[in-house]
Amino acid sequence: MNGLDAAITQYIDPYYLRIMILLGINIILALGLNLITGVTGQLSMGHAGFMSIGAYTSAILSMQFGFSYLMALLAGAMVAAFFGFLIGIPTLRLEGDYLAMVTIGFAEIIRVFFLNFEPGGKAVGLSGIPQHTNFITVWLIALLIIALNTRLLKSRMGRAFYAIRENEIAAASTGIDTTRLKILAFTVGSFLGGLGGGLYSHYMYYINPQDFGFMKSIELLNMVILGGMGSIPGTILGSFILTLAPEMLRIVAEYRLLFYGALLVILMIFRPNGILGDVRIYDLKKRWGRKEVKTCQS
């Protein structure tokens, strides 16, 4: 597969290839968060915490325990999912936005843990991680995740997730076990967070706890909000914009916080549901259909 990547490198500038790979990883991470926050309506502000669990777990497994790339990725994602499950059980039972606070706290604890974690190189970080992640693997996995995610959201389960976001009491009155499904969404979202983390660490060669701080969580949250809460095309678009903007515009990279803040304010004013949050293919078809009719008549 690296051969293929080398071939691609001949045609694509390595700089752009790098952005494409990071974009694929961000899409996977953001789709995980979208399931939790965008679809099910549970505000999580610590997604980078799950990403770091996946990143460190998979890196250590492949460096020190000889795990194959795929097995290491899977194990990292499972461990992240397990932690998501563990903190989801007590938190998601409660009403209100406790989850936001708990997830911020959790991500911070995880960060401090890795700052003191001997096998992870403490504050220095972990280097020498095999660079298995490349354009092909990232996008194969990303496309698979997009396909599965689309199918999930169109199913009975997906509709139930949306229903919980829209009105929890009404959802329960249709027979939806809201607590169980919130925990499920959180666990699956954390799984994707861990998966993205594993892909990331096996691409970067070197990771350290600061890569997964509060700013990263906010960045991921912004991808979901910007594109449109609960929408898969929206989340992909949000990931695209927020992966490219800091790369393309130096000024954005330097004033990241300011940029995110301004973006959210503008969004709240002009498109409170996100760019694609309330755009459906059905509506687009209808609009195109109408236009065709008009041209026929004229």
């Binding site: 949306y162 229903a163 009404a170 959802a171």
Partner: protein, 254 residues
């Protein structure tokens, strides 16, 4: 046979006694009305029956089964559907999806089945969809199935709530002021609809409503609540002429 029995149901909110020792027996197949002034505790009673509140005292029996401590979703799965006085639709879902969600409690496909798209799941999806479309025909919303629920007019939203509740294939249906905000034409339609679904779906219906002509017309029996107490119960004719009911609710001259 009694479908629903309430035995000495009381509900306290802080110091307020919203319900005070309410007894009630609802028989299979009847339309049972609950009337009373605002704040009498009618909605609270529905919230207790559907497990949103756990009653401070008393027993709740559905088809010979005690359900006081059951969760809302498990009560729904027993076949108790409801609508809400303050409309609770899934606003950013389509009209069709609102009704499809309604059948959650009687369908099975779980997470992995949904991911894999197994044949049994696809079959179930088809059933859910065609049944939802039938229900939308029934309440006259088929043409609007792709609209967002919050784009519907008020009366349409109330009918959508009924369709969603029916998707659960309930045996007991609770309607909380279904005619509120409807014009007289819509009310007549609603009355026909309630009669029709009771017949065709073999429903028992518990109805809270302020519109007296509607209640007196379609209910076989009526209970009157006042400050959390049941002050009367009986057929419409009896209720209309009950001294206490006239005083506290219907008003002189009603």
């Amino acid at each position: 046979m009694s479908v629903l029995t309430l035995e000495g149901i009381s509900q306290e909110f802080g110091g307020l006694r919203a319900l005070d020792g309410v007894n009630m027996v609802v028989e299979e197949g009847e339309i049972f009305g609950i009337i009373g002034p605002n704040g009498a505790g009618k909605t609270t009673l529905f919230n207790i029956i559907t497990g949103i509140y756990i009653p401070s005292e008393g027993d709740l029996i559905f088809k010979e089964r005690r359900i006081n401590r059951m969760t809302t979703h498990n009560i729904a799965r027993l076949g108790i559907g409801r609508t809400f006085q303050n409309i609770r639709l899934f606003n950013k879902l389509s009209v069709l999806d609102n009704v499809r969600v309604g059948s959650h409690g009687i369908s099975r496909s779980g997470f992995f089945k949904s991911l894999l798209g197994l044949p049994s799941m696809l079959r179930e999806e088809k059933e859910i969809k065609s049944r939802a479309e039938e229900l939308l025909e029934l309440v006259g919303l088929y043409d609007k199935k792709m609209e967002y629920a919050d784009n519907l007019a008020y009366g349409e939203q109330r009918r959508l709530e009924i369709a969603r509740a029916l998707a659960l294939k309930p045996s007991l249906l609770l309607l909380d002021e279904p005619a509120a905000g409807m014009n007289s034409g819509e009310k007549v339609e609603l009355m026909k609809l309630i009669e029709q679904i009771r017949q065709e779906m073999k429903l028992t219906i518990l109805l809270v409503e302020h519109d007296m002509s509607l209640v007196m017309n379609i209910c076989e029996r009526i209970a009157v609540l006042d400050y959390g107490r049941k002050i009367a119960e009986g057929p419409p004719e009896e209720i209309k002429n009950d001294e206490r009911v006239i005083q506290s609710y219907l008003g002189v001259g009603a």
